[in-house]
């Protein structure tokens, strides 16, 4: 009886969640539809500005898309000052074109994305080098520990054979 109640409660909760989720999407769609005309310039600037990210996405063979994420985050950071400019000068398409027409602005946006790509190239190698150097020094310590154990307890300490009670007792 109690099991049935529990199951029915769980089913009711699941339905509520689905309804809530569905409701959220609908609410987002409504809000997006209502605000589309107000955020359109921002959206255009953002999507156009993220073009280096799209290129990175296309050339990134990694399943986990580490390079895309890194480029995207730097690319987004590079767009940010122009987004602020757009919002402070009024969100008009004219301002958007004005920003996009300026090559220096593209240099900033692409430069930031480039730094992201540079990070993707350099940091993993640097991290790997550090890690392996550390591993090598750890390996030396561990091997020294093994020798030390052998010195203290004899060569049999490295075996898994049963303790020789006949000889040792």
């Amino acid at each position: 009886m109690a099991d049935k109640e529990t199951k029915s409660d769980a089913a009711a909760d699941g339905g509520k969640k689905k309804r809530n989720k569905g409701g959220g999407v609908i609410l987002f769609m409504i809000m997006f539809g209502l605000s589309f005309w107000f955020i359109f310039p921002t959206l255009v600037l953002f999507l156009v500005g993220l073009s280096p990210t799209f290129i990175a996405f296309l050339i990134d063979n990694d399943r986990q898309k580490f390079a895309t994420v890194a480029v995207a985050s730097m690319n987004a950071a590079g767009i940010t000052p122009f987004m602020i400019d757009l919002w402070t000068k009024g969100q008009t398409m004219e301002t958007v074109f004005q920003i996009l027409r300026e090559p220096l602005n593209w240099l900033v946006i692409a430069g930031a994305a480039g730094i992201g790509q540079l990070i993707v190239f350099a940091v993993p190698q640097a991290v790997a080098s550090l890690k392996l150097a550390h591993a090598e020094s750890r390996l030396k310590i561990l091997k020294a520990n093994l020798e030390s154990l052998k010195d203290i307890w004899g060569p049999d300490v490295g075996t898994t054979k049963p303790i020789d009670r006949g000889g040792k007792q």
Binding site: A77, A112, V127, K131, L146, L149, G166
Partner: protein
């Protein structure tokens, strides 16, 4: 006796000390006073300037009669050489011997050989000068429980007309060893000299009777006979008849000799009766009890026999023919019909039946004949496979066999086949007195069948010979007679360059189990191989307990001897450092010779357990380290994985943090521009 004159002028330093207060002089032998057990030398009490002693050195490899020492020291009688002291002496040849210090005899030996004739003496002189003091000596023996077993003319120091006779020493050799068959009762004479055992007081009275007979006769009437002939004549004619024959004696002498020379020990006069005789009470002379004769003889091995005793003696030497007359019933018929001895016949039937029931097949013929001989002649010794031994003499015979390295197989079989029990059961009136002996040998049977260390024939040896020294080849030269003397002896041996590989053998184990009441379990561990640590620990446990109980406080050489066995024990410790530390500690302790401390160093159970736990932890740690090394080596071999799995996520994180900083910087720039204008 020039040596006797020299003794007082000797420097005191030349004497070898022994016992409690005696020293003997090896450079001054007394050949005239030589004893069955060894040579005699001049001796004196320490601090005493008079050279009044003679020391008998028991150097012939015969076990002295240690069990009679105390009783003998209590005898202070003018007709007995007084035992003044006894102990172990360090002889110049490096061997330690047992030595006995006696009062120096006042006269020379009465006779040099028993066949030596002498002038006839009057009855009065004999009674006054010889019989009376000798009866006094026998009374002393009866009082103290000593059985001398050495009463004979050649062991009496007496010069006619010069004081009382003195009985010589009797403790340097097993009882009756130096005694000719003439002076032994028939039963004892039939035994091998080493196997006569300690008899009874009546045996001394018999020997006195024979000695007296020779004194009265002035010669030895059986001087032309060998030992076998003497025994045969005694069997056939009885001792009185064989010695006195038709010689005319005074009624007094005849009465005395008849009383003393009765072959039946139960009828023989003892010192108590001799005292009554001396007091004037006349006792009924006993008949010479020559054994019962059969109405018709039995033919055996080409000879005719009319008595059971001679027949039994002959059967013991002819096993095959003896088997024939036993198994075809001729002997049984002869016993019942010709001899009329139903008891012996029934005994014979019992002997055959008991052996068949036991199912023993090894040496069946020998055993059957031995039992048949006992059935025919119950008081005679046990005769088995060429050995003729009284049950009380088995102990000495085993001792002699083991000391000389002779075969003890037959003696072992006498014990294991319960021939002694059968012998005891066959004794008629004396059976109740013999029951403890039978029980003792039943116990010996159980011990001799055990093969463990400290059991077997060696154990039987020390159980049956309470006064015997340890005859282990390891300590034989040290004459170890008590457990207390064992450790000092081992210490002396340990100090020699050619000490044996091990400080223990079966003899020492048996000796210590019997004399020091040690547990057999401890000795089991000593049979382990040299690679086993149990062996060294067992040695050390035993010797440390003995050191604690008996001393001495320091035994550095023995400790050094044990070191190789203890090294094995130290291998129980896994930790090298701990092992090295303990090795050093053990060496230091061994040099001090304290075995108890040494044992605590070597056999600390808690330390062994802790070391083992730590070792197990170290093995686990080793495995974990190996696992980690394998992982690291895998990483080093595959850099791409590190880049992929750790480098790229790090790059993402780094770019993320950098982007956040840049966003903040952009916001701050915008805020700054607004504030500017």
């Amino acid at each position: 006796m020039a040596a006797q004159d020299v003794v007082p002028t000797l420097a005191f330093g030349t004497g070898l000390p022994f016992g409690t207060r005696t020293e003997m002089f090896p450079v001054l032998p007394f050949p005239d006073l030589q004893a069955p057990g060894g040579a005699a030398f001049a001796a004196q009490s320490k601090g005493d300037t008079s050279p009044g002693l003679v020391a008998v050195l028991c150097n012939k490899g015969l076990p002295p009669r240690a069990d009679s020492l105390t009783a003998m020291r209590n005898i202070d009688h003018p007709s007995v050489l007084r035992l003044m002291d006894n102990g172990v002496v360090d002889w110049p040849d490096g061997v330690r011997y047992f030595a006995l210090a006696y009062q120096r005899p006042l006269s020379p030996r009465f006779k040099q050989t028993i066949n030596e004739p002498h002038q006839l003496l009057s009855e009065d002189i004999i009674n006054h000068s010889f019989v009376t003091p000798m009866i006094g000596a026998l009374l002393e023996f009866l009082r103290t429980g000593v059985v001398h077993h050495g009463i004979r003319p050649t062991n009496i120091f007496w010069r006619i007309g010069a004081g009382a006779p003195q009985l010589g020493e009797c403790l340097s050799a097993p009882p009756g060893l130096g005694q000719p068959a003439l002076f032994e009762t028939l039963e004892r004479a039939m035994s091998t000299p080493m196997g006569r055992g300690t008899g009874v007081h009546a045996d001394d009275c018999y020997a006195f009777g024979v000695t007296l007979a020779l004194l009265v006769l002035g010669h030895n009437p059986m001087k032309d006979m060998d030992e076998r002939g003497v025994i045969q004549t005694k069997i056939e004619r009885g001792t009185f008849g064989a010695l006195i024959g038709n010689t005319r004696l005074s009624p007094t002498q005849s009465e005395l000799l008849r009383g003393l020379l009765v072959d039946d020990a139960r009828q023989r006069w003892t010192a108590a009766e001799l005292e009554q005789w001396l007091g004037g009470r006349r006792l009924t002379p006993k008949n010479t009890d020559v054994g019962r004769r059969a109405s018709r003889s039995i033919e055996f091995a080409g000879k005719e026999y009319t008595q059971a005793r001679p027949l039994a003696t002959a059967m013991a030497g002819e096993i095959t023919q003896a088997m024939r007359i036993i198994e075809n019933g001729i002997l049984d018929k002869w016993l019942r019909r010709a001899l009329g001895d139903e008891i012996s016949a029934e005994n014979l039937v019992d002997a055959v039946a008991s052996l068949k029931e036991s199912g023993k097949t090894a040496h069946y013929d020998d055993q059957l004949v031995a039992r048949a001989c006992i059935a025919l002649d119950p008081s005679a010794p046990i005769r088995y496979r060429g050995i003729s031994v009284a049950p009380g003499g088995i102990a000495t015979l085993i001792a002699e066999a083991l000391m000389t390295g002779s075969d003890v197989q037959a003696l072992g079989e006498i014990i294991s086949t319960q021939l002694v029990t059968f012998w005891v059961n066959m004794q008629k009136d004396l059976k109740t007195d013999m029951v403890p002996l039978g029980q003792q040998f039943e116990r010996m049977k159980a011990l001799i069948e055990k093969t463990s260390f400290g059991s077997g024939i060696e154990r039987v040896l020390y159980e049956l010979n309470p006064g015997l020294q340890c005859i282990s080849p390891i300590v034989r030269t040290q004459y170890v007679i008590t457990p207390k003397a064992m450790l000092p002896a081992l210490e002396r041996i340990a100090a020699t360059p050619n000490r044996p590989p091990e400080p223990m053998d079966r003899h020492m184990a048996a000796f210590l189990i019997v004399r020091d009441r040690r547990s057999e379990v401890l000795f089991d561990a000593m049979t382990a191989s040299e690679a086993s640590p149990r062996k060294g620990v067992a040695f050390l446990t035993l010797f440390s307990e003995m050191q604690y109980k008996h001393g001495p406080d320091s035994l550095p050489y023995l400790a050094q001897w044990l070191l190789p066995f203890l090294e094995v024990s130290l291998r129980r410790y896994f930790s090298k450092a701990l092992r090295e530390k303990l090795q050093k500690q053990v060496r230091d302790t061994a040099s001090r010779g304290d075995l108890g401390v040494l044992l605590r160093c070597v056999d600390d159970f808690q330390m062994v357990e802790r070391d083992q736990q730590e070792y197990l932890a170290a093995r686990l740690l080793y495995l974990n380290i190996l696992k980690e090394i394998t992982g690291i080596e895998g990483s080093l071999a595959n850099r791409g994985n590190v880049v992929q799995n750790e480098g790229k996520p790090a790059a993402v994180s780094f770019s993320g943090y950098l982007a956040i900083i840049m966003v903040f910087a952009a916001i701050l720039r915008a805020v700054w521009q607004n504030l500017q204008g």
